[in-house]
Symmetry: C2
Subunit: 694 residues, 2 copies
């Protein structure tokens, strides 16, 4: 039998080092490194060398994905007077990074190419409901150039809905109410967007994530590929700008004011002009965007710390490495914690013995274009992950302040909270992270847990969580006054001015990642709590029930008359969901009792190695029980019945997505299939924990 | 016996005429008419002639009051560069009124005179709590020039608190978040403040209203007067400016950002710069203000429509006539309704017989300086009003839109609501005013009534309501998109563009004023409901109880255990107030039952003329029962125990002011006297309605 590891959280905590974190930051943020560029290649090589230096089993996992590059962009006011608008950030004497020649002007990857001129329409956030409001008010969008502000949804949906409404082009700007003088001091004096600051970013919105041309399969060099024209990428030109340029357009608009309609009163934001729905005939704007659509190579860098007793089973910690510029915050505020966790844990393993299970450290490529690297790796390792991945921890942009938080799959929440009880709070070491976190509010259902967010879309956890069903969590800390998101100001000068020089946030995140992973990698019985998924199911079922009643799909549930429902203190659900709720309630009880009994037996040393292996296999299977093999209707790549990205806005999550879709589409006919799918989950869960003869 | 009047609401409604209202507007808004100026004299003469032409008993009631005039003002940025800031509004080609030579630059009456230079401190709204926050954050105000935004309190308190904090001077500006691009289109395109628009206004904050030199007595030519230096008028220079000028100062400030402190995060408003607490050493501003402090003559114009059966008893309708410029909105949007109500009611009286009781139409002078004309008239007629005034209806700025509302003393609310049931809604004549009003929400205590506001300070009702105890109400309608408040843009061009050309709002207000007054002037038994005052007392007692608990004066009330308290569905009050609440509850029941019985007997014709007179006298006495002859502690001019202006902010009201003061000052020692005073009110109320032998 292999030597038992004696790694503890406190030994790892002591090994984490601010100077090292600063060093990784210097190493990785030295130059712009957009996916598919030479800077990207150099970062990949640095990561490979670093992981190898830790003694990890290191693999550079290459992929070939559709990674557009910009070649030209023009934005002009054509009339009433001609004026070119600036499409790049101000170069600053106070921040020499802003002078780097490899920095791109502002652009949105996957924009269509084109040269259009037209009148202007303001569409607020460019959400589905915003375009519906414009239609209600009789505002013509067709043939016009839409200007929309960042916020409210994923930018790809702004483009999707603008194109659907017939817009000729789209301009997206950062409103000062979101980041600018309305929020605080401006960069370089403070941390918020100055008038030239531009948020870059991808527009990819497809019914899957990862490489646009290889859904469901790994994007190897020779993988079968869709034709680009079949994929349904954005066709209209889209250009992001700063609020200085936006003001030049907005102040020349002469149409109806947003304040004149109750529906659009909230569309007024932070620019010093009355916002208007239309620009009027006199104002004409020209937008020209050119981008290639080439397949380019990038890579994930994966380093494995091999476990001693269950080496196939693994905990994965990941963060992407690609950026829109230097990426000191996005992603490197997470990547440096990933690297430092790898260093500390591999050193601890050398000194104290490796953990029971393997820990994989994954620096993902091309996240920014569409969560590509992680998705391709997951697609290439789907079967292994389905059977043997215990959890995935994502660290994208993780160290941005001292206020720790997590959005997480339900089954590993207690493991994360337990880790937080052993990590000192950044800049307040007398307290633990858990103390500070609980101080900001407890979980709605279980007051012994801190408040976790619902894990949806937006970063490298999506393939793990939504495609394969691996329990996943984002770990991050925020609260610093400012943002340089996707701008050329996202560099070390900004980070050290705004987040700080002390790397306290990054130390806390490193310890949280290492500590959470250690719990999953070292405890004999996996600390997975399948009943919490069911408890969360029931909470979200109440939300869906209410939404369905509001949408007229069913009658609002009456006050509880059944003793069972009244007993557990939960609000009733609508009649067509009531049986499902009872099924969930009994499943929840059975899971709780059974797994508690397992835990007692393991603690008492009454379980053989084979039995333990069987119980762990069952625990992993409980997370996968939520996976519907055929996937969700209309977007089968997403298979987790507990959570999916919000279909209509991107960043947020749809919980119980198959039921939620029924409600959103008012598709009463789809209800039966949805209920059946969830009933199947509960049957599976009960079967998984049922041990013949036990 | 005199001929019974057959005036009905519908006959009066039919007599109200939009063309007439427009004509009164043309007549009274023809030139600037600041109190004490030649324009003021001409308006007084026009009103006298108009009232006489209606056949009213007309009196020009002169008074001599302290009415300062401005002589000079300079506001300069001295360093880092020198720059004069503009202290008057932009003259507009679209609005020829703006060119009138008699218009004053921006000024605040009762400013100190002086010439000061210093650094700048931003104090948000300049409220008591804002200066406390600055002190907490260690921001030095002493010797500096404070810049504060309008809103949040009466401007006089901004000056009072700035002076108390040691400021050298005060600049008050209109923030675009209050009126400007944040709210809608700017004048002259729309109705909101452009960058030069300046809110003028008085700074008088004394423990009484009316002429500063003659508290408690009428300001006749020869009245005994206080010395100016004894009065405690504002000593520092104060200057109002537009947001364009404010931006010139704010954008040069270099100190700490308001966003950097949790306490001041809400201080950021609508200017396109990060707001800061301090200007820094480099920014120096000079403020020079010169004003005289002269006693000037002005006058009220009072026209009485004499009642037939109870001619001494009167209902008063009032609105001031003085303005800071043309005053098309403030006050004339109310004054024209006053004049038209006088015309319609006097014509109706000629044709159908005069009403039972007298109606006095009062156009007040010098309201803008400190509610002077109405206060001097009330002081001169105090005894008559105390015995014989049935109600006061105030129409200041009343016709500003179609959404009718009222802040009102409790006892006449049902009379106003009944009148609203007989008046067609402006621009929606299929509905009544009551329908539309109820549609915006009902009263918190009595769902059969629409929602009324609590009547506090701010206009000509104050002397009637707070000094003498006459049941009073403000009647007004708003909802038009914009404001030109106290600026040179408050003229007919602005009013007709923003509120409209149709005078629908003014017709509605005229009808509401005439209809409400008619109910009080014609019903045999006065429609005064004394139990509603007690019901409102109990509601406000709960508020005071909660505030006292929050301030630590007493323990928070426990959940009701007493059946009595639980029975009426009201929350319990803190122990030291519980006996008072029980007292109120029994008084409320007794009033309700007794007056209902009176009403039944009168309706059944079982009451003699003498008995009726006695009952009406008793009803009038119930309103006066709330008057404490010695007045409130520290400000004895205010005598109504039900309501007073907010001592620390001006416009708002303190309900149950003697109890509220105990809470605000945490003066537990004052509680006994306060409870005793209210106990006395309830004893009086019960005595008033107790008829020996009945």
């Amino acid at each position: 039998m292999t030597r038992k590891s004696s790694i503890t959280a406190s030994t790892v905590n002591a090994m984490v080092n601010a100077g090292q974190l600063r060093g990784w930051h210097d190493l990785l943020a030295a130059e712009p490194h957009v996916a598919g560029t030479h800077g990207d290649e150099r970062v990949i090589e640095k990561l490979r060398a670093t992981f190898e230096s830790f003694g990890l089993e290191t693999d550079v996992h290459e992929f070939w994905a559709l990674l557009p590059r910009p070649s030209a962009a023009v934005l002009q006011i054509v009339s009433p007077e001609q004026r070119d608008l600036i499409l790049k950030e101000r170069v600053l004497d106070e921040d020499l990074y802003t002078q780097h020649p490899a920095l791109d002007p502002g652009w949105n990857a996957f924009s269509g190419s084109g040269d259009v001129t037209g009148e202007v329409v303001y569409a607020n956030y460019g959400r589905k409901e915003d375009f519906e409001t414009l239609a209600t008010l009789g505002v013509e969008v067709r043939g016009r150039i839409v200007i929309a502000r960042y916020g409210g949804n994923y930018r790809g949906y702004k483009a999707k809905f603008a194109q659907k409404a017939g817009a000729a082009g789209l301009i997206i700007y950062t409103d000062p109410a979101e980041s600018g003088y309305t929020r605080g001091l401006l960069y370089p004096e403070g941390g918020y967007a100055n008038d030239t600051c531009i948020e870059r970013g991808s527009l990819q919105t497809l019914p899957y994530i990862g490489d646009a041309l290889t859904p469901g399969v790994e994007a190897t060099r020779d993988a079968p590929r869709l034709k680009i024209d079949e994929v349904g990428l954005c066709a209209i030109p889209v250009q992001p700008i700063g609020y200085g340029a936006a003001l030049e357009i907005m102040k020349r608009m002469t149409g109806r004011a947003v304040a004149d309609h109750a529906e659009t009163r909230g569309w007024q934001a932070g620019l010093p002009v009355p916002y208007r729905l239309t620009g009027g005939e006199a104002l004409r704007v020209r937008l020209k965007v050119e981008q290639d659509r080439e397949i380019r190579r990038s890579a994930n860098v994966v380093g494995v710390l091999r476990g001693s007793e269950e080496p196939r089973r693994m905990v994965v910690i990941g963060c992407h490495h690609d950026a829109w510029g230097f990426g000191a915050s996005d992603p490197l505020a997470g990547t440096i914690a990933l690297v430092e966790a790898a260093r500390a844990l591999s050193r601890a393993a050398r000194e104290l013995g490796p953990p029971r299970r393997s820990i994989a450290f994954c620096a993902w490529g091309a996240e920014e274009y569409g969560i590509i690297g992680s998705s391709e790796w997951v697609e290439g390792n789907r079967d292994l992950l389905a059977t043997d991945a215990a959890a995935y921890f994502n660290l994208d942009m993780a160290s941005m302040g001292v206020d720790f938080g997590s959005s997480s799959g339900p089954s590993i929440r207690r493991a994360i909270a337990s880790a937080a009880a052993e990590v000192p709070q950044a800049r307040d070491p007398e307290r633990t992270v858990l103390d500070a976190w609980m101080g900001r509010g407890g979980d709605a259902t279980d007051p012994s847990l801190p408040a976790f967010g619902d894990l949806g879309g937006g970063s490298d956890h999506v393939a793990f969580w939504c495609h394969v069903g691996v329990a996943s969590a984002g770990l991050s800390a925020g609260g610093s006054p400012g943002t340089s998101y996707h701008s050329i100001y996202d560099n070390l000068a900004w980070y050290r001015k705004v987040v700080g020089e002390d790397y306290e946030s990054a130390m806390m995140i490193t310890r949280m990642a290492a500590g959470s992973a250690l719990r999953l990698a070292t405890e004999e019985l996996l600390p997975i709590e399948p009943w919490v998924c069911v408890s969360e199911f029931r909470r979200h079922l109440r939300d869906v029930s209410g939404r369905g009643a509001a949408a007229g799909l069913w009658n609002a549930p009456e006050a509880a008359t059944e003793p069972a429902a009244a007993q557990d203190g939960l609000a009733p659900v609508a009649d067509p969901l009531a049986e499902l709720d009872r099924d969930a309630a009994s499943t929840q009880r059975e899971l709780l009792e059974t797994v508690a009994a397992w835990r007692d037996r393991v603690a008492a040393g009454k379980v053989s190695a084979d039995e333990l292996n069987d119980l762990n296999e069952r625990l992993l299977a409980t997370d996968r029980a939520w996976v519907l093999p055929e996937g969700l209707p209309e977007r089968p790549w997403f298979k987790n019945l507990l959570a999916a990205p919000d279909r209509d806005s991107g960043y947020a999550s749809w919980m119980l997505p198959m039921l939620r879709r029924v409600v959103e589409d008012k598709d009463a006919a789809g209800l039966e299939a949805a209920v059946k799918a969830y009933t199947g989950v509960f049957r599976s869960l009960r079967e998984i924990v049922e041990i013949p003869g036990a």
